[in-house]
Each structure stands twice: as structure tokens, then as C-alpha cells.
Amino acid sequence: MESFTPIASTIGGLMIGTAAAGLLLFHGRIAGISGIAGGIFRREAGDMSWRIMFLIGLFAAGAAWSFFYPQDYVVEISRSTPALIVAGLTVGIGTQLGSGCTSGHGVCGIGRLSKRSTVATISFMITAALTVFVVNEVLGGSI
């Protein structure tokens, strides 16, 4: 429990919610990162610039914030390169097949009281917990 950050996490959550609400009010869109990224690969005319700019903003935030707070981006779990590649591929394919990720389903979808997104969130929470159980309890915390 030593790393529990209820106040910072709530403040960060409020900011995420505000950004998602802004994207809805100004652009009429759901702030799902996997959906925004997936749309770029579909290359539909007139639907590209807001997606690209949102992702550039996300990228720029990391570049700027890490300059002052590099500790916010530390990786303190032990993962090999192959494990990271498998993780990235499954997140990429899974979010497209399942039409959303933590932001699209977990925040915006549950926020809209969507039954689909609630089921999706329960689904990915269960398999994430099972995966962490296997890695931490069976494999000793390193893969």
C-alpha cells in the first residue's frame, strides 16, 4: 500500500474526465484512445485532423511533463522486450476487436451508463487481474 495515491489519482481522474467532456462538447466525440488511434488507420476523409491533433497533444504532454516530473513515467516492473511486444500486440488487437479501452469503455462508456462498455470493462479487468496473478504469484513478478 505504500504507493497508494488517492489525492493525485483523483485529481488526474478529474482532468481526464474534463478532457473527455471537452472532446464531447466541442467535437461531439468519445475520448477513447484506442478508437481515436484506430480511426487514423482507416484514413477517412475529413475525420483525420482532430484525431491526429489529439494524439499529438497526448504525446506533447508526455514530452513536456516528463521534463519536470520524470518520476511519473518510471517503469518499476520487470518486463522483457518480448513480453512488452506481446503485451503491446494484444492491447492493439484486443482494443480494436473489443471496440475500446480503459478510456473509451472504462471512463466514457461507463460514464454514459452503457451496458456494452460495462461488460467490456468487467471483461478486461478480469483478464488483467488473472494475468497479474500469473505473473506475480506463479512467475515471481518477472517475465
Partner: protein
Amino acid sequence: MKVKIGAFLGGALFGVGLAIAGMTQPAKIVGFFDFFGSWDPSLAFVMVGAIIVYTPVYRWAIRTWQRPIWAPAFSLPTRKDIDGRLILGSAIFGVGWGLGGYCPGPALTSVGARSEEAFTFGLAMLIGVGAYQLFTRMRENRSGGTVDPQAAAMIDG
């Protein structure tokens, strides 16, 4: 131009929120699911914080707004059915999230922060996203039309 700047600022606010929330530290994500080790409930506070802001704004907007400020109409999910693809896809995503400790937003913003782990994960993730979308488009072209326009448009986000 203002539309582009607005989207940029939205992404930037989202990204800083992720960092402050602790979402860009894989150890905190793994810690949330580590019920048998030292459990870190922070992720629940992130989600509740975000939903507390989002839900009232969403309900107000869909009831009283004719259209968003910069777009002709709201583009919102319409499907209500629970299908196997939704559950299976989400389950696959969960495995990767637990394995790498990154979901898509934190991975991409951490690439901006020049994290090597995020770069490896993020590149693989974009390959996965791209491969899925290309595969979907090839299937559409073969069948001479859009197989599932809502699925293709990422109906849930």
C-alpha cells in the same frame, strides 16, 4: 485551425491527467490488480474521478444540446447488444494491460516522455491496431462494401 488547437489541448490535458493520476507508471496498474501482494487501489480513484466529471456533462449535453460546438452532430455509439467480439476483444486487451502495465493512452503519452518500455510496447500496439484495421478494410473491399460500419468506426470508443 481552432478545431485542431482544441483537439491538441484536449489530448494534452488528457495526457497530463494520466501522468498525475499515476496511469503512466505500469507498477501502479499492476499494483491495482495485485490483490495477493501490496494492493494499490489508486486506479479506482482515477476512474471515479473521471466519471464524476464526465457523466453529468454527457447527460446535460445529450438532453439539451442540438450539436457540439465544432461539429455538425454528435458521433456517439449506438449499439446496445452484447456480442462475443466485445467480450473476447476486451479479454485480450486485459491480458496485454496486465502483462505490460500500459493501456493505450498512457503508452502513447509515455512515448512522448521517451520511455524505452513504452516505445517498445507502443510500437507493437500500433502494429496491432494497424493490422486489425487493414484486415477489416480488406474484408470490406472483398465483400464490396462496409461489412460492419459501426464496428469499423469504433462504436464504443
